[in-house]
Symmetry: C2
Subunit: 424 residues, 2 copies
Amino acid sequence: MEVRWRGFKRLTPVGEALKSFIASGRFGPVGVEAVRWDECLGRILAEDVVSPVDVPAFNRAAMDGYAVRSEDTFGAKLDKPRKLRLVGRVEMGEKPGFEVGPGEAAEISTGAMLPDGADAVLIVEHASVVGGSILVYQPVSPWRNVNRAGSDVRSGEVVLRRGQFLRPQDIGLLCLIGKDSVKVYVKPKVGILSVGSELVEPFSQSPAGLGRVVDIDRPMVRCLVERCGGDAQDWGIVGDEAELVAERLKEGMKGAHMAITTGGVSVGKSDITIEALRLLGAKILVHGVAIRPGSPVALSIYEGKPVVSLPGPPAACLIAFHLFARPVIRRLAGFRTEFLPCVRARLAARVPSRLGNRSHVRVRLYRKDGQFWAEPLQVTGSGILSTMTRSQGFVVVPEDREGLEEGEQVTVYLYTPHELVGGG
Amino acid sequence: MEVRWRGFKRLTPVGEALKSFIASGRFGPVGVEAVRWDECLGRILAEDVVSPVDVPAFNRAAMDGYAVRSEDTFGAKLDKPRKLRLVGRVEMGEKPGFEVGPGEAAEISTGAMLPDGADAVLIVEHASVVGGSILVYQPVSPWRNVNRAGSDVRSGEVVLRRGQFLRPQDIGLLCLIGKDSVKVYVKPKVGILSVGSELVEPFSQSPAGLGRVVDIDRPMVRCLVERCGGDAQDWGIVGDEAELVAERLKEGMKGAHMAITTGGVSVGKSDITIEALRLLGAKILVHGVAIRPGSPVALSIYEGKPVVSLPGPPAACLIAFHLFARPVIRRLAGFRTEFLPCVRARLAARVPSRLGNRSHVRVRLYRKDGQFWAEPLQVTGSGILSTMTRSQGFVVVPEDREGLEEGEQVTVYLYTPHELVGGG
């Protein structure tokens, strides 16, 4: 459908388009909020977390046995045991009221506090009790069978860093050091507006007439925004009237950090969205990108906030979202860099492309002969949604290639990390 | 900490342990429920979805131009145009009231229904209007600039398959074909119980005394269960009394599909959980696995439902969760196979291991010289949580290796697909 970009004076290469867009704005985190420890999973930390305590808080026996001074056990053998006098017993949860002096030992339970003087725990199997003493049959090295104070976490240590994604173990660490809330980045509010007089709401009561089109871009983009760490706002559908589009955008942007529009970005008759952006005085940095599908993309700044205008045809909309909206949302959400999960695969058939264009070829992945194969579904057909639902990801044909060869090793960018279910 | 598995008669290899556990039970989906289209993102489909309609529903103009019979344009040239008589005009949303016969053409808008007889759209640039006719300057091939009926989705076609993970584009497809709810697998209810008299709730009002331990396993496991597609139930903490543990398990299992316990799985004095499972008459299939960390794992079946008993020390608990609890939860949730996101990296230092044991070495990933490097953090220390919080994943040393060499290429299994933030 090269038609779609008929009329553009120049198509900007993808890399240049994204770079100039990102350079133009301050696309950093939109704010910081405190969140309880049990609600921060998956959020991005907005502060360095410093532990106020040692973990463990004291030298702790890792085994049941005898607290000893390790040097007292050196040279001990089965046929030449060393004798140590028992001076007490320590249970978990109590502070020992005595020291272990030279030639002395104390019974100790796993998890109990090591008495002063002792620097190791001798396991029961390596000693025997004789009256008020023990016979030691094996030497034990210093700090053996002891979890030393601060060996897990030291007081004053930075344990979690600003910008990191919070995982289950990080929640555990917050519990461990007693920090019950942390500062995380606020989720950016992202408004989503569909433009087009032909559009109707999905499952709307009034049946879609001939030539009416169900607006599937908005629900898809809403899901994607949430996936990227944004807070999606639904701004509905506006028909082909630039003034109305401008009004809705202006109103919506008062309470949002970013806008995504779909449709109305072609050249000529159907550039309603572009016209609306001009009416608003938005700075249109890019209009038309050298990609397939998805070339009629516009990237603008309105009142310092990013506006990403995606093409209406669903496959083009999704690919353009991945390329241009995702990296911006993630920056606003506090993620530091981009990462799309990917796998290496062998291309099952030749893929043609056009020099100067970057093509995004949807592929179906399967396993054969112990490796992944990528079957190209379609290069063109920006309106064909089923190429997206039948594929697990896409392969990129760079601008300087006229295509990719059958059998070539390629990187497949996966839509989600769950794509290999059934094959991984 | 080889101590932890002192006393096991035999340690079962990981693969054998998991295999026998999975073979013993019917670890399939626990149920099916209907969910609305806008609430099924990320769920697993429990039915094949068949489209009741063609998409597009009719042959649709992909461009503004003229609906023609393609054969009428064959041979047309700039200096030898072909003349076609204009017989009407079709706008989007209307049904044309005429046919296009031989030697005829009709004006048509993008998205409008192609009149009968026509099989292509000639773009305006390739024709000019002269009175009631057009002069055609270029031939157009059949179905050019037409989105044919059923070219995206055919009526009767299976468009989404049972067992697949629902992504944004799949939600879009449901809207497109007008299916407003789908059957998905029910999330399995997974109870989580901590065993140990030394344990206290995180952030509990009563300060933890010396030797008391904050129960961080339960909040971590709760997060992990939700991540795997389960519905976590908190069964709290039970002290070192087998009868009480048995009672809590019995009561909880009435409303759950699976149980996960942490702690009380060693051999001898501190095997409260094992004792409780015996009291309940549970079938203990495996107790003690040849891994580090995490060897004191027990895998049981109670009333036909899986019980995974994890070791208490947090690093061991997390690794054992990944190996034994995750695959079972995902099976109950309807996922078909396992996939942990992974990357290839070069090992930054030698890692020792013990023959016959599978070791899970936590590694910190970084980029240098255009590739990933994995710095081993620690092999032992099952209680050291910070090796989990400072690492992005783990490397496996198989049973038949005494270690991995510095510089060796290894696979790093990532905890989450977000681990490469900062490096990817």
